[in-house]
């Protein structure tokens, strides 16, 4: 049979979309092509885990918290994330950009203070996992740098 080659980047993008949208499954079909990704509901989100209260941890998705993707930039604080320097401005970075270490990727507002979030390392910005103006919590993946 012919070589079955898969689009890794696409899978990662879909995985990121799950995180961003809080979905647990995405199924995609295009003509003969069909792709489906699913996550057991352990993703970080503002909604509490739906696991039954008394359910033993090992049997609960919340028990096996999904780590952020490799190269993910996670939020250092609770606040509102902005992708542009000023409302309606152009995003500071976009997927595909090459970013320098320390370069400001986005801004998180907390207690009316604007906190610039720098790139922890240089690389290519693979994906943006959040929307402009989206509330984020501590440890939430924001962007992925490769």
């Amino acid at each position: 049979m012919p070589k079955f080659d898969i689009d890794e980047a696409l899978l990662r993008k879909l995985a990121a979309l799950l995180t961003e949208t809080g979905l647990t499954e995405i199924e995609y079909e295009n003509g003969e092509q069909r792709i489906r990704v699913n996550r057991g509901g352990g993703q970080v989100t503002f909604a509490a885990p739906v696991a039954p209260a008394g359910q033993p941890t090992p049997a609960s998705p919340a028990a096996v918290p999904v780590g952020p993707p490799a190269g993910a930039v996670v939020s250092p604080m609770v606040g509102t994330a902005y992708l542009a320097a000023e409302p309606g401005g152009t995003p500071l970075v976009k997927a595909g950009d090459r970013v320098k270490k320390g370069q400001t990727l986005l801004i998180i507002e907390a207690m009316k203070v604007m906190n610039p979030i720098p790139a922890p390392e240089a690389g290519v910005l693979e994906s943006v996992l959040i929307n402009d103006g989206q509330p984020v919590e501590y440890g939430e993946p924001l962007m992925v740098i490769r």
Binding site: V44, F46, A47, A48, P49, A51, A53, G54, Q55, P56, T57, P58, A59, S60, A62, A63, P65, M77, V78, G79, T80, A110, M111, P135, E137, Y138, G139, E140
Partner: protein, 433 residues
Amino acid sequence: MFEKVLIANRGEIALRIHRACREMGIRTVAVHSTADADAMHVRLADESVCIGPPPSKDSYLNIPAIISAATIAGADAVHPGIGFLSENARFAAMVAEHGITFIGPTPEHLSLMGDKVRAKEAAAELGLSVVPGSAGALVDDIEAMAVADRIGYPVLIKAAAGGGGKGMKVANNRGEMAESLALARAEAKAHFGSDAMYLEKYLSHPRHIEIQVLADTHGNVVHLGERDCSLQRHHQKVLEEALSPALNAAQRTAIGDTVVRAMKKLGYRSVGTVEFLFQDGEFYFIEMNTRLQVEHPISEMITNIDLVREQIRVATGAPLGFTQDEISFLGHAIECRINAEDPDTFLPSPGLVTDFHAPGGLGVRVDSALYAGYRVPSHYDSLIAKLIVHGKTRNECLMRLRRALEEIFVGGIKSNIALHRRIIAAPDFINGD
């Protein structure tokens, strides 16, 4: 009524508050550190927000994170619970500045009672007798000696900003004063960043009696009787009971009325506890806790009043739904604090709880956020469950507590259950001494 309350705490008290909210039809927002992602109150809450890493200073004491979470979640009130920020006047003020209701007293009362020296001055003005001692913070050792000589030895040296027995030393005679002062100052400096000390008469065999009060924003104040917390280990409460076997009805009414008058004069609101040392028929004010207390359930058991529900109600500005005359005391209640600790060494014992079996049946209440498979984090205090038992009489209550302690089981970690079994078997305790 509130639409959504953010619970700025963790553990069993966060669950206690969540339960009260659910029963009032209020949505809950749990905030938690990364160490508490699987905590019971986080699982049960309508929403949850991770506010920081495990250390308390970066999460449960992280004021900006908590207020941001409250703003983002759209909570219209914040319940601070017990400990952490519950008595932090600055936090209470900032919550209010953000247009969110702080479920508790005014910032002014928090700071007043947070300062042990000013608290005693206020208490005296409010008509509560205090333990004879230094008028305020001691200027120096010379003044300390003079005061001690006046009130007579033994004397107790305490940190002005202290609590929980930290920065506290006894001097039995003039000769011990210098060293005791030095030790206490050092401890106080280390724990509270201040070595301001005061000094008072040391009572040899006092009982720890505390009066539970509840006040609305319309000047109505009631008391729910006393709790007896005399059984302590290193100034830490282990077991509490209500009512106190040491008080008679006349003493109860007298101190209750005195406290209610004082709170009305102070203009206090929300729940609070006025703590006294009781010896030889005299009550000496020691401090006031301007928050809910760990042992509040025993007052609930003997009065059938849901204190957290009432605390939330009055925070909305609603008047108390009952008067003092409508509060009657039914039977006797005891609370055992179950800690994740070695029953002999008292060292904390965090880790995976492989099994948790709560006792049940008539008159038995368990307030706990434990579940089988839960991992007790090492970053926070070791309280894992409160076993609360009610009975028609103190004896019935003790017998019920004994059988409940036979049934409760916590597997995987060490706990002080064995200690409690020993305590309630001790003749002195059975006799209420």
